[in-house]
C-alpha cells in the first residue's frame, strides 16, 4: 500500500464551481488536506461514495468491516499523526455504530470528524427507513455536531468541523448530511475556518499565575510532576523535558501521557494510577508541590479524592478551564496551551537537583521491583507472563515501535513495561476503556506512520470484539503486527472477582476459537507460542516480517496485575500483592 503523504495545510478555493453537495464534501476534505478516510457505505451516503469512486486517486477510502472500526482507525491515525482522523458512515445503524468511537474520542480528546448520511430533508422525523436522530444521540459524546440539510451549507460547516475538531482541546465532531443536500448543487468556494466567535480554543496565559507557579516550584522541597496527554496534544514534549531537567523534578505520567517523555529518562519515574508504579502513587501523598500538566485527575489516577495529595500545594497547567477544580482543588491554575505556558515558565524556574527526593522514588522502585517487576519480567514459574512478552517486544523493536493496546490486564501490563523513545507512540483507550479499540486503531496508526513498526497488543476478550477488522488488514495489506495475549479469561474482571467477589468467576471464562486458524483464513502469517523457549524467536520473526503478522501467546490463565489501588482506596494504600 501507498505511504500516506504529509498532509497539506487547509487551502482556500476562491473561484466558485457549480457542483453537487456530495462532490463538495470531497473538495472540502481535499482542501483540509485529508487523503485517507475510513468508512462503510450505505443508502443515505451513496452520493458521497459515488464521488469517492471518482476521486480515488487523491482520496483513499479504507473499507472497514464495521463502522466502529472506522472510528477507531480514524482515532489511531489521529493519535499517531496529530492530525484530524476522518470516518464516514450511512444513516441509522451506520451512524449509531459510530457512537462508541465518538465517546472514546471525546473522553480522550482525539481530533476526529465523522460524516454520516441522513434521510432526505422531507423525510426527517417521519421514521423513514434507516432514519435515526444521530444529532440527538451523539450530542453528549461530541465536541460539536451539526445537521446539514442544504447543499449551500456544506463548505462553511465542513470548515468549522475541522477547525473545532483540531483546535484547543481536540475532540470529535459529527456532521450529518441529508441525502438531498448531497444531490443538490451549490456554487462551491472554500475558506478554511480560523475562528468561531463564541469559542475560545486556547485561553490566554496569565503571566501572574505563571510567576506564582514558578515561585512555588522554586520554593518547593519535594516537587512532583504528573503529566498527561495535554503535553502530546500541545506538542510540549521539549518544554516538559526542559522543565524536568532544569528544576530536577521527578515526573510521572498518566496512561495517556505515556511516551511524551522518553521512558528511559532518569527523571521519568513511571506511571500513576490504579495499576501505576508504586513510588509515583505513594509519593503523591508525600510531595509538597504537585505540578499537574495537561492531565485531568481522572478517578483512576487519584483514587479516593479525600486522601489525594492533601499535604501538597497543587499547580494545574491546563487548556480546558472546565477541568480546573473539577476533581482536585488547585492552588494555582495556569490556563493555556502547555507548550506556550511551559515556555513562559522555564526562564523563571531555578536550576535544582532534588537528589534526596528523587532517591525516594528509586527506593520505592526497588520495593516494587522485588515484589512485582522481577516476577513479571523474569518469571521462574512455568507459565508465560504478559510482562515477559512486552519485554521481548521492547527488545526486538529497540523501543522504537508504536504500541497500540486494548483494554484490560494486557493494557496495564503493556503500559507499565513498554519502553518508548518517541512521543505519540502509545495508543490506548484510556478514559472510555473501550474493548475492541486496539485492532482497528492499529490499522489507523500504521497507515499514519508507515515508516514505523506498529504493534497491537490485545487480550483474547477485546480481540473478539472487533476481530472482523482482520478483513480490513488483509484487503488493504496493512503491515501491522498483532499480538494476542491469551489467558482464556476476561482477565481484569476475573482479577476483580478473585480479589473482591470471592473468586466467583461470573461470565469471565472464555472458550476461545483457534485464533491462528482465523488469522490464516485472512491469509495473515500467524504463530502460536505456548512455551517460554519459543517466545524470543517468534517475536523476532514477527518484528522482521514485512507484512501483517499475527502472534498468539498463551499466557498464565490466572495472573493478576499489581500494584493495584483498589477502587475507592487512597493512592497511599496501593497493594503490591
Amino acid at each position: 500500500m501507498e505511504t500516506i503523504k504529509e498532509r497539506k495545510k487547509a487551502q482556500a478555493i476562491q473561484n466558485p464551481i457549480k457542483i453537487s453537495g456530495a462532490e463538495a464534501i470531497i473538495h472540502c476534505l481535499l482542501a483540509e488536506g485529508v487523503d485517507l478516510i475510513y468508512g462503510y457505505p450505505g443508502g443515505a451516503i451513496m452520493p458521497i461514495y459515488d464521488e469517492l469512486y471518482k476521486f480515488q486517486d487523491s482520496l483513499t477510502h479504507v473499507l472497514t468491516r464495521h463502522e466502529q472500526g472506522a472510528t477507531h482507525s480514524a482515532q489511531g491515525f489521529a493519535r499517531v499523526t496529530g492530525k484530524v482522523g476522518v470516518a464516514m458512515a450511512t444513516s441509522g445503524p451506520g451512524a449509531t455504530n459510530l457512537v462508541t468511537g465518538l465517546a472514546d474520542a471525546q473522553i480522550d480528546s482525539t481530533p476526529m470528524v465523522c460524516i454520516t448520511g441522513q434521510v432526505p430533508r422531507h423525510l426527517l422525523g417521519s421514521d423513514a427507513f434507516q432514519e435515526t436522530d444521530i444529532i440527538g444521540i451523539s450530542t453528549p459524546v461530541t465536541k460539536w455536531n451539526y445537521q446539514i440539510t442544504k447543499a449551500s451549507e456544506i463548505p462553511e460547516i465542513m470548515a468549522k468541523a475541522f477547525y473545532i475538531a483540531k483546535s484547543g482541546r481536540p475532540g470529535p465532531v459529527l456532521v450529518d448530511i441529508t441525502k438531498n443536500a448531497q444531490f443538490d448543487e451549490l456554487d462551491f468556494t472554500y475558506a478554511p475556518c480560523t475562528a468561531v466567535r463564541s469559542y475560545t480554543p486556547i485561553p490566554k496565559p496569565d503571566l501572574r499565575s505563571i510567576e506564582t507557579a514558578a515561585n512555588m516550584i522554586n520554593a518547593a522541597k519535594k516537587p512532583y510532576i504528573i503529566f498527561g496527554q495535554g503535553v502530546i496534544l500541545g506538542e510540549a514534549e521539549n518544554q516538559l523535558r526542559a522543565l524536568v531537567e532544569k528544576a530536577g523534578i521527578p515526573a510521572a505520567w498518566t496512561i495517556l501521557g505515556l511516551s511524551a517523555l522518553d521512558t528511559a529518562h532518569p527523571l521519568n519515574v513511571g506511571m500513576v494510577g490504579m495499576h501505576g508504579n508504586y513510588g509515583p502513587n505513594v509519593l503523591t501523598n508525600e510531595c509538597d508541590l504537585l505540578i499537574a500538566i495537561g492531565m485531568r485527575f481522572d478517578d483512576r489516577v487519584t483514587g479516593n479524592l479525600d486522601t489525594y495529595a492533601k499535604q501538597a500545594k497543587v499547580i494545574h497547567f491546563e487548556i480546558d478551564p472546565a477541568e480546573i477544580d473539577k476533581n482536585v482543588k488547585v492552588d494555582v491554575a495556569v490556563l493555556g496551551n502547555a507548550k506556550e505556558t511551559l515556555e513562559l515558565l522555564l526562564p523563571m524556574v531555578k536550576e535544582n537537583k532534588h537528589e534526596a527526593w528523587h532517591n525516594e522514588f528509586k527506593k520505592k522502585y526497588e520495593v516494587e521491583f522485588d515484589a512485582v517487576i522481577k516476577k513479571d519480567l523474569h518469571p521462574t514459574k512455568e507459565g508465560l507472563t504478559m510482562g515477559e512478552v512486552i519485554a521481548e517486544i521492547n527488545q526486538a523493536s529497540k523501543n522504537e515501535a508504536v504500541i497500540v493496546t486494548d483494554v484490560g490486564q494486557h493494557q496495564m501490563v503493556t503500559c507499565r513495561y513498554a519502553k518508548f523513545k518517541q512521543s505519540k507512540s502509545s495508543i490506548t483507550s484510556g478514559g472510555l476503556g473501550t474493548m475492541g479499540f486496539a485492532l482497528p486503531a492499529a490499522i489507523g496508526a500504521k497507515m499514519g506512520a508507515m515508516d514505523r513498526e506498529v504493534v497491537a497488543i490485545i487480550g483474547d476478550g477485546g480481540y473478539q470484539m472487533t476481530i472482523q477488522e482482520l478483513g480490513t488488514i488483509f484487503q488493504n495489506k496493512v503491515p501491522v503486527k498483532i499480538v494476542v495475549l491469551n489467558n482464556d479469561h476476561l482477565g481484569m474482571v476475573r482479577q476483580w472477582q478473585e480479589l473482591f467477589f470471592e473468586s466467583r468467576y461470573a461470565s469471565t471464562v472464555m472458550t476461545n476459537p483457534d485464533f491462528v486458524k482465523i488469522a490464516e483464513g485472512y491469509h495473515i502469517t500467524s504463530k502460536r507460542v505456548k512455551e517460554r523457549k519459543d517466545l524470543k524467536a517468534a517475536v523476532t520473526e514477527m518484528m522482521a516480517s514485512k507484512d501483517a503478522y499475527f502472534l498468539e501467546v498463551c499466557v498464565e490463565k490466572e495472573d493478576n496485575v499489581f500494584p493495584m489501588i483498589p477502587s475507592g482506596a487512597s493512592v497511599s494504600d496501593i497493594r503490591l500483592k
Binding site: I135, G136, T139, P140, K143, W144, N145, Y146, Q147, I164, V196, R197, S198, Y199, T212, N215, M216, N218, A219, A220, L289, K313, D320, P321, A322, I324, D325, K326, K329, V330, D331, V332
Partner: protein, 193 residues
C-alpha cells in the same frame, strides 16, 4: 522570601458554604442554534441535577439568545455546570448568581369560571390584593395574569384554589442582575464586527 502558603485557595474555610444547597440562576448567552438546548440540558442530565425552571429568549444583543436556568443545588456543582456549559462551542458566556444578586420574576396565568367572578365576592378581593390583571372575560371563563416572585404566585394560587381553577400555568424565571454583566463588552465587540 516567597511563601507558597500565601496563595492557598481559601476553600477549606468556605467548604461548608459551597456544599450547601441553594437556589442559583444560571444565565447563558449563546448563538441561536437548534441543537444547543439539547446540549445544555444534557449537562444537567449527566449529573442528575434537576432543572427547576428554564426560559429561553432573545437577549439585549441581536442574534444572541439568553437561557435562564434555575437550579437548587450546591455552589460547587453550579460552578462546575457553568464551566461545562461555557465549554460548548456556541455558548458565548455563562454566569451564575444567587437570588440576592438578581432581580427576578415569574409569570402565571389562571383560567377560572366566569360566574365565580359574580357569585364569589372574595375573588375580586384576591385580584385586587395580588395586583393581578384580568386579561380577558368571556361567558364561560375569565383569565388572570400575575407577574411576581414565585411565593406571590403560590400565595395567589392557594387563595384561588378553593373556588376551582380550570387551568394554571407558570413561566420559567427571568432575571436581570443587580451588578453589570461582564458579557456586555464581549457582545459589543460581536455587534461591531
Amino acid at each position: 522570601m516567597f511563601d507558597p502558603r500565601s496563595v492557598r485557595f481559601p476553600l477549606d474555610v468556605f467548604k461548608w458554604k459551597i456544599m450547601e444547597n441553594k437556589w442559583f440562576t444560571i444565565s447563558v448567552y449563546s448563538e441561536n442554534n437548534v441543537g444547543l438546548l439539547n446540549r445544555i440540558s444534557g449537562i444537567f442530565l449527566k449529573r442528575h441535577i434537576n432543572v427547576e425552571s428554564l426560559n429561553v429568549s432573545k437577549s439585549e444583543i441581536e442574534h444572541v439568545s439568553k437561557f435562564t436556568i434555575v437550579v437548587f443545588t450546591t455552589e460547587d456543582w453550579t460552578r462546575k455546570i457553568v464551566a461545562q456549559i461555557e465549554k460548548q462551542i456556541e455558548v458565548i458566556k455563562a454566569f451564575y448568581h444567587t437570588d440576592e444578586e438578581t432581580i427576578y420574576q415569574e409569570s402565571a396565568i389562571f383560567k377560572i369560571e366566569s360566574h365565580l367572578l359574580f357569585d364569589e365576592r372574595q375573588i375580586q378581593n384576591i385580584i385586587k390584593e395580588s395586583h393581578a390583571q384580568i386579561v380577558t372575560v368571556s361567558r364561560e371563563f375569565f383569565v388572570l395574569a400575575k407577574t411576581g416572585r414565585r411565593e406571590e404566585i403560590d400565595e395567589m394560587y392557594q387563595h384561588l384554589k378553593p373556588y376551582g381553577i380550570m387551568q394554571f400555568v407558570r413561566s420559567g424565571r427571568i432575571t436581570v442582575t443587580k451588578s453589570p454583566m461582564r458579557i456586555s463588552a464581549i457582545l459589543e465587540e460581536f455587534q461591531n464586527n
